[in-house]
């Protein structure tokens, strides 16, 4: 039986993937991508968790043996920033699509191009 955190992470990835596959509006697809990204981040952080331990900040009372793994958290910090950057790029492409075609529906955009 897998843990609830893994289950939640997988569910988030699948919900995002569903939006990317099924939705026709570009903005909704981008929201789906962001949800997938959140799922991956949750998965990484929950892999680094250890029962009964505290955040990896070694202030009073927290020794090196009472902290969780810092590396997944550092990785997620990086991933969030990269996610913001890619989302900004994708949104500006969506703005250009709307200016060019007057719609954000991918099927109509495909038809207009032909």
């Amino acid at each position: 039986m897998i843990s609830a955190y893994y289950f939640g992470a997988i569910s988030l990835v699948l919900i995002g993937l569903y939006a990317v596959l099924v939705k026709k509006n570009v903005l909704k697809m981008l929201i789906g991508l962001s949800i997938m990204e959140t799922g991956v981040n949750l998965l990484l952080v929950s892999i680094g968790y250890i029962y009964g331990r505290s955040a990896p900040i070694l202030s009073e009372g927290i020794g090196p043996n009472q902290a969780v793994d810092p590396i997944p958290q550092a990785l997620v910090l990086t991933a969030i920033v990269i996610g913001v950057a890619t989302t900004a790029m994708a949104l500006s492409v969506a703005i250009i699509l709307y200016q060019k075609y007057g719609t954000l529906n991918v099927e109509e955009i495909r038809r207009l191009r032909g």
Binding site: I50, A55, I57, A74
Partner: protein, 238 residues
């Protein structure tokens, strides 16, 4: 009819993908101690970097080169947004001002939001946070200003110059490390000067982590404000 078929096909595919993901992850025990490299970092972080927050020590000190790449990615993204949305003449076209609550609240809150962002990135080596969340908080202040006032625009030239200077000073701090210690991103403040050895856990410690995080915070704040500014101004044709 087609759409129902497509939808059910997508759901079946997702169920298969989800099954395989769960299958793979069931081999990874949740909540067990699996640390290998992390153990080394936790044992040595205070002695080697002077920071008590292991996450920011890993991000800025042990894997500083990676963070330089990350800052570069963010810079490229903001340049890309600027290039994609480029036009000869662009203006803000928003017509409705914010409500009186929004405007009054933002006039009072903006300095405190910026102050809080600065607090987050200055205390990066002590508390959760660091340069990236702090910079994002500062950008939030400018986003709120954009939302409240239809005429507001950031001082674009000053922001671009600040961003460039911050990016260069990151590289300069790293190059000073190269000159003193022999490798790029050597922590000269902690390892050569031993600055703040008796101060671990207080603000004047942590080697170059607060310095670099201040630089990153300023850079991320101006960069994200620039992205907001680029997205909210629209092309005007005469």
């Amino acid at each position: 009819m087609v759409s129902i078929l497509k939808r059910s096909l997508a759901v079946i595919m997702l169920l298969i993908i989800g099954y395989w993901l769960a299958q793979g992850l069931s081999g990874i025990p949740f909540g067990q101690d699996k640390m290998l490299v992390g153990k080394y970092y936790l044992d040595n972080v205070i002695r080697q970097t002077g920071a008590i927050n292991a996450v920011t020590a890993v991000v800025v000190n042990y894997r500083g080169f990676d963070t330089l790449g990350e800052v570069t990615v963010l810079f490229i993204a903001s340049t890309g947004v600027g290039a994609l949305l480029w036009a000869k003449r662009r203006e803000r076209t928003a017509k409705t001002e914010g409500s009186i609550v929004l405007k009054t609240g933002i006039r009072l809150l903006t300095p405190f939001v910026i102050l809080f962002g600065a607090y987050i990135f200055i205390h990066g080596h002590l508390t959760p946070g660091g340069g990236f969340p702090g910079g994002a908080t500062i950008a939030t202040a400018f986003l709120l200003l954009y939302m409240a006032y239809t005429m507001y625009e950031i001082p674009r030239r000053a922001f671009e110059n600040t961003e460039g200077v911050a990016g260069m000073s990151y590289v300069i701090v790293a190059l000073i490390g190269l000159a003193i210690g022999g490798y790029f991103l050597f922590d000269w403040i902690w390892q050569t000067w031993h600055f703040g050895v008796n101060n671990v856990g207080r603000i004047l410690s942590g080697g170059f982590i607060p310095v670099i995080y201040t630089i990153i915070g300023i850079k991320v704040g101006t960069e994200l404000s620039g992205i907001i500014d680029n997205m909210l101004r629209e092309e005007v044709r005469e």
